[in-house]
């Protein structure tokens, strides 16, 4: 992406996010928009790992959950200030991701999928089981997000915070993708040995992007713990991980704006089609299969390619 189109994209996103609340009739819709922002932030990070670096993770909800529970537990049981708890959660998740990344990311394809899936499931089992700390299946409440005497209240406040964070995440992610670091990530996706022989330490870059995407998920999780009235383990389970991956692949792998579109679409879908509530897994599974079979590049890159072809 050239410098110009990156600023155009960011500008368009900023205008859209700024105008959106005017179009939302009531707080129910604002709530959906906030949830979409949460998912979009995680997906922009996850897309760095899956879409750009080509390393699949089927356990990212685990990192989201760890961040969320770190915040909830530290604030609720130990009285930490929310911001400090958020940073502590990010540090814990970052260190954990760093520790497991090197051995795990040596694996490729199915093995990597299985290992990340295993990590995610183990995290979710621990959260479910250690009820003394986490509240078990009933969950835990972290209370409102406050910094000093300032307290974040109401959907609209949350919306501005999350929209701002989404914009910042997108800015950072597109910067990274378009730098020597990002090129190294995309290169190791294309051919690891090809990247190695021109000096790319592929193992190091894989670890780096894994940690970055895990920390982004953790920070989003920490904030989510304060946003949701009651944090439950389902937010950290295998299906949440799959949902996140589906958002990324549906919107378009290796497309930051695709990740946002995917997250927004799949967050809205169950809300819009409430009649189909029972059919959610069928629809989710169908979207995963259909996207991969009929437009493996995902929605946004496929549409972009159509436009480019039409232009002479």
């Amino acid at each position: 992406m050239s410098g110009l189109s990156r600023w155009a994209g960011l500008g368009a996103l900023a205008i859209f996010l700024a105008a959106l609340p005017q179009a939302l009739p009531n707080n129910y819709y604002v709530d959906v928009a906030v949830l979409a922002c949460f998912n979009a932030i995680i997906c922009v990070g996850l897309n760095l790992l899956i879409g750009y670096a080509g390393q699949i993770s089927l356990g990212h909800a685990g990192f989201f959950g760890l961040g969320a529970y770190a915040s909830a537990v530290l604030v609720n049981s130990y009285g930490w200030p929310p911001l400090l708890a958020l940073l502590a959660g990010a540090a814990i998740v970052g260190l954990m991701a760093f520790a497991i990344a090197r051995p795990v990311l040596k694996l490729k394809g199915h093995y990597l999928a299985m290992a990340t899936l295993g990590i995610g499931i183990i995290i979710s089992i621990v959260i479910n089981t250690e009820a003394g700390i986490t509240g078990g299946p009933d969950g835990i409440a972290a209370g409102p997000f406050s910094i000093g005497s300032f307290k974040l209240a109401g959907e609209r406040d949350w919306y501005w915070l999350m929209a701002g964070l989404l914009l910042a995440t997108v800015w950072l992610a597109t910067n990274l993708v378009d730098s020597p670091v990002g090129r190294a990530l995309r290169a190791l996706h294309g051919s690891e040995v090809g990247a190695e022989v021109v000096g790319v330490d592929t193992a190091r870059y894989k670890v780096m992007v894994f940690v970055v995407s895990a920390v982004i998920a953790s920070v989003a999780g920490s904030l989510f713990a304060h946003y949701t009235p009651q944090l439950t383990p389902t937010k950290a389970d295998f299906f949440k991980s799959i949902e996140l991956v589906t958002m990324v692949v549906f919107g378009g792998m290796a497309s930051t704006f695709g990740a946002i579109v995917g997250a927004a679409f799949l967050t809205m879908l169950p809300q819009v089609l409430t009649v189909f509530e029972d059919y959610e897994p069928v629809i989710l599974g169908g979207i995963m299969m259909g996207t991969m079979i009929f437009m493996p590049k995902g929605l946004v890159p496929t549409i972009a390619a159509l436009f480019n072809r039409r232009r002479p």
Partner: protein, 291 residues
């Protein structure tokens, strides 16, 4: 003391036999296509749920079982035709997402076709327990072990003695050469899905009188079957059986001696350790990547 250990061992071997069948299903498809079918566990669920509902509808049990296996095989073949074959040339990540999508799709469909409740099937030959050195052995356990053994022997015979089986083996070693020798590799792919589906269904049906079944049973069973296959070395039939038994026994021991809540975590801890320290599994061949 000994009787408790024996009890855990029995339950471990029983569930391990199902993981073994499931792991074999993974291996058969992997050998035929280098696809990991994350929907393998759904075959177990579909087989079991179909059999249960047919029996409930009054179909005699042997016929219900046979029909359930056939239905599951049809699902397997359809899955291959509609979802896997159109994306044969796609990347590994793409195929992983397709088969996971299929798994969630089938699970959701099962929730619609049936319901969200647990279902139960009567044991094949009564439920008078057999006392074995102080441990309790249910007759159905013998059915599970006997069926698993029979299926494994049948598979061995199929792959080593029949033309069809040899064609499948040949395809796994070198698909291009196999194709040039006149083997219809597309047919082999289809057959592998049918066969794997049948294995899953059989496993699901024989274990249901012991463990119950529900629409969301497949995923965990499937993932543990995959753990078994990787533990034994992906694509290695003997390894899948050994891996299944190891995972099953480790799980039962952990549940018995440590904590039943962490039972499900055992398979995943094992698989992580194996992947990191023994990436080719216990019995896998070591490969060098060609560049």
């Amino acid at each position: 003391m000994l009787s408790a250990f024996l009890q855990f061992l029995i339950s471990g071997v029983t569930v391990g036999a199902i993981y073994a069948l499931c792991g074999l299903g993974f291996s058969i498809i992997y050998n035929a296509s280098h696809v990991i079918n994350f929907a393998q566990g759904e075959f177990i669920m579909i087989g079991a749920m179909t059999a249960v509902s047919l029996v409930e509808a009054g179909v005699p049990m042997p016929l219900a079982i046979l029909l359930a296996i056939l239905v599951t095989m049809a699902v397997g073949v359809l899955l291959e035709k509609l979802a896997v074959e159109p994306a044969r040339k796609a990347s590994v990540t793409t195929l992983i997402i397709i088969t996971i999508g299929a798994s969630i799709f089938l699970r959701g469909l099962a929730q619609e076709v049936w319901d969200k409740n647990f279902h139960k099937m009567d044991p094949f030959s009564g439920d008078t327990p057999i006392n074995l050195f102080g441990a309790v052995l249910m007759p159905q356990t013998l059915w599970v072990l006997g069926t698993a053994l029979l299926v494994i022997l049948l598979l061995a015979w199929f792959f080593n003695r029949t033309l069809e089986g040899k064609a499948m083996l040949a395809t796994s070693f070198n698909p291009l050469a196999a194709q040039l020798m006149g083997i219809n590799t597309k047919r082999v792919l289809m057959l592998s899905f049918g066969l794997s589906a049948a294995l899953g269904a059989v496993g699901g049906i024989v274990i249901t009188p012991i463990t119950f079944t529900a629409y969301d049973n497949g995923i965990m069973l499937g993932l543990k079957g995959f753990s078994a296959a990787v533990l034994g070395g992906l694509g290695n039939g003997f390894g899948a059986v050994a891996g299944g038994l190891i995972v099953g026994i480790a799980e039962a021991m952990a549940a018995g001696y440590l904590s039943s809540a962490y039972k499900d975590a055992v398979a995943f801890v094992i698989i992580l350790l194996v992947l990191v320290f023994l990436p080719n599994g216990l019995f896998g061949r070591k490969g060098t990547e060609r560049v």
